[in-house]
């Protein structure tokens, strides 16, 4: 997205400003005699966790770069918790008896090291939310685009279903919807004739939550996936990337993916 389309800086959804407001709100509440619910838990956060969006007039901020870090050493072979959670959240159902045609926003890949002790490796693969996305470069209508906070999306309103982006993506992350769909999640509109891919659960991110796959992985106790702002040096994801070796899949293409892997 060009800078001209970015709205007024004051209105931009800025985590630092939000945190400051949150702290001052707590201070004000404490001064007014209100008791905090628990250390670090504020009513505002509870409200946000209850699936409500922020007020209108706040936009995705270019100060944020949403990303994911996947620790393949913790990712169990055969486990598909992330895939199941993704399918549930985004209402992705296998096509009518034609699994080869059904959409796949995230998939598990099992790898075996040929040399040495045949080390087995398992990892989830999805849209890598590149900083320089080739799908956006090739899209003839401008339907494929990158949001200010680094999430790569398809604008289905103007997607003509040419599937150029599917050809361009080195991660084979995109799917084409071949058949009419019903029972979509109201927040995840999907339909026949459009290309689609992982949205990092943008509807949840805008509510202040993380992607469904990461939540499922954490809740199941695997802890193989973490999600956060790559630009926030105080965040867990940036700290982990700063201290432990991580790699980008097909780093040679210099696409600067937002999804990083450890242990491959």
């Amino acid at each position: 997205m060009s800078e001209e389309t970015t709205p007024d800086a004051a209105a931009v959804r800025d985590p630092a400003r939000r945190a400051f407001l949150g702290v001052s709100a707590t201070a004000a509440a404490a001064a007014a005699g209100f008791v905090a619910l628990a250390p670090g838990v504020r009513l505002m956060e509870l409200a946000q966790a209850q699936s409500s969006y922020p007020a209108a007039g706040q936009f995705a901020s270019s100060k944020i770069r949403w990303g994911m870090l996947i620790d393949t050493t913790k990712c169990a072979t055969g486990c598909t918790d992330c895939v199941t959670a993704c399918n549930k959240e985004n209402a992705i159902e296998p096509g009518s008896g034609r699994p080869a045609q059904s959409s796949q926003w995230i998939r598990k890949i099992e790898l075996t090291e040929q040399a040495g002790g045949h080390r087995e490796l398992s990892l989830p693969m999805m849209c890598q939310h590149c900083a320089n996305p080739p799908c956006v470069d090739v899209c003839p209508t401008g339907a494929s685009f990158k949001r200010a906070d680094g999430i790569v999306l398809v604008d289905r309103h103007i997607c003509i279903g040419c599937r150029y982006c599917m050809m361009a993506c080195p991660y084979q992350a995109r799917s084409f919807v071949h058949e009419p769909l019903h029972d979509q999640n109201p927040e995840v509109p999907r339909g026949q004739g459009c290309v689609e891919s992982c949205t990092l659960c943008v509807q949840r991110i805008d509510r202040g939550q993380g992607p469904a796959c990461v939540e499922a992985c954490t809740q199941a106790g695997h802890g193989a996936m973490i999600f956060g702002d790559l630009n926030d040096p105080a965040g867990e994801i940036a700290k982990r990337i700063a201290t432990t070796a991580s790699s980008q899949v097909r780093a040679d293409l210099r696409l600067d993916p937002g999804v990083r892997y450890q242990g491959i």
Binding site: T6, R13, S52, F59, P186, Q209
Partner: protein, 166 residues
Amino acid sequence: MKLLRGQSASSRARSILAYRGGMSRISLRGSSHLDLLATLPVHAIRLLFIFVFAIGANLSFAGVPKPVIDIAKPGSKCLAPPEVMRRTHMSMLLHQREKTLRLGERGAKVSLEGCIECHANKSNGSVLGSNQNFCQTCHAYVAVKVDCFECHQPSTGMVKTAGTKP
């Protein structure tokens, strides 16, 4: 949306009648002015018939049922008066969809989900389904295809998932 631009049911009926009324016969024959003069009374009578027919078609609208508005939450206030909403809801949605999808604005007043929450039908909780349902009833009346729900969910049934912060 595919608009049949500027055509109401009555004007369509009128233009069809006018076309079938034999007005084009003169030019088809390549006739002279004399011919025209000779056949003038006939044409005048035909024109009169066409007029009567057209007026009749206008008055007797029995073939096109009027929209039926049966909504789940009546009485609650819409974003603008009905006459404004009828004319501008499509452009309101068009502009907001850019902001929501491309700029990430959420919680705006204008939202398709908001339309559905109030205007869904009592019986099936949807804005589609039959000519008793809010979106479908008017769109059928004005013969405008509504494409929104090929991707968007037309009913309020599905529960949103709650979750934790990252």
